[in-house]
């Protein structure tokens, strides 16, 4: 056996170990766009909560109550639109990247990725809904950051490693947000907006180019 052949064998082993177990087509650009949607959403939410009609003049998180159902519905619509637009963008851009790089889009690795993210996300979503119905609005920002972070840490095993670091940052941010009630929207904008833009650009320049 030639030295060259040994080198080639090792290179092909390393490549297959990585490609077979990880979904590498995740688009960094979609992270940047999701961050921008989140910032726009947070700005709209800010107007509803603090400016429009001056209902919640004081920056007290418990002032948002069910006796203002109109605002509550508007906030939920914003959240759902931001989430939907982000998921759709991620789906389309990753599909495009998978086609370009010749990786299978819906294979063993992307299935594992979705399954492992779904557990913390569905758990967190259900828990937030329960608390929301019981009137604990303050839990939304920290809980959404923490459960999203946990989902990213789980996802990191099946995709680009950078996702895991983003997840850890989201968890830390969520815990800090839990310590500082009243600033939920600010932390939410940092976590879902600013961090997404930073990590998305890093991943874009590192892997998409």
């Amino acid at each position: 056996m030639e030295e060259n052949q040994a080198h080639q064998d090792l290179a092909s082993i390393r490549n297959l170990m990585e490609r077979s177990s990880k979904f590498l087509s995740l688009s960094g650009l979609s992270g940047v766009l999701a961050g921008i949607y989140a910032l726009v959403g947070a700005a709209l939410a800010y107007r509803i909560i603090y400016n429009e009609s001056m209902i919640y003049q004081s920056r007290q998180y418990y002032s948002l109550q069910l006796n203002h159902p109109q605002e509550l519905i508007e906030l939920m619509v914003i959240a759902v639109v931001v989430l939907g637009a982000s998921l759709l963008t991620g789906f389309i851009l990753s599909l495009r990247k998978a086609r370009r790089t010749g990786q299978k889009f819906w294979g063993a690795s992307s299935k594992a990725l979705v399954f492992n993210m779904a557990i913390p996300l569905l758990t967190g979503g259900a828990m937030m809904l329960i608390f929301l119905l019981r009137g604990y609005f303050g839990i939304i920002a920290p809980a959404s950051l923490i459960f999203y972070g946990l989902a990213l840490v789980a996802a990191g095993n099946y995709t680009l490693k950078g996702v895991q670091y983003l997840g850890i940052n989201e968890i830390v941010l969520g815990l800090v947000a839990a310590l500082l009630p009243g600033y939920g929207l600010l932390f939410w904008a940092i976590g879902f907006g600013v961090l997404h833009i930073i990590y998305g650009s890093v991943m874009y320049f590192k892997y998409d180019k």
């Binding site: 056996m1 030295e3 040994a6 080198h7 064998d9 090792l10 092909s12 082993i13 297959l16 170990m17 490609r19 077979s20 177990s21 299978k104 294979g107 063993a108």
Partner: protein, 101 residues
């Protein structure tokens, strides 16, 4: 210094077998079609190499049905994982040996 050629596993002489094994050591299970797609080989070629690895008891075959479609999964045995690791060590030794000459 003895030349470490003899430590290389004959079962992994073929590139495709080595590639199958590298996929199965990092994934608990992998199905036939995904293997085929990832390796870019023909059905017959892949099947014969899988059979070879099965004969060495390096992999296990699990046949099941997804609805009505047959689905064949493969997983590495402890013996296979050990053989793969030994083969990698031998490759590494070989490269080191040749560099020192």
């Amino acid at each position: 210094m003895s030349i470490p050629f003899d430590k290389l596993d004959k079962a992994f002489e073929n590139r495709v077998r080595l590639q199958i094994m590298s996929i199965l050591v990092v994934n608990d299970r992998y199905d036939f079609n995904s293997l085929k797609e990832l390796l870019g080989v023909t059905d017959g070629n892949l099947a014969s190499h899988l059979k070879g690895l099965e004969k060495e008891e390096y992999i296990l075959v699990n046949k099941s049905f997804l609805g009505r479609k047959p689905n064949t999964n493969y997983e590495a045995t402890p013996k296979g994982k050990q053989a793969f690791k030994a083969h990698l060590d031998a490759l590494e030794a070989l490269i080191k040996h040749q560099k020192s000459n």
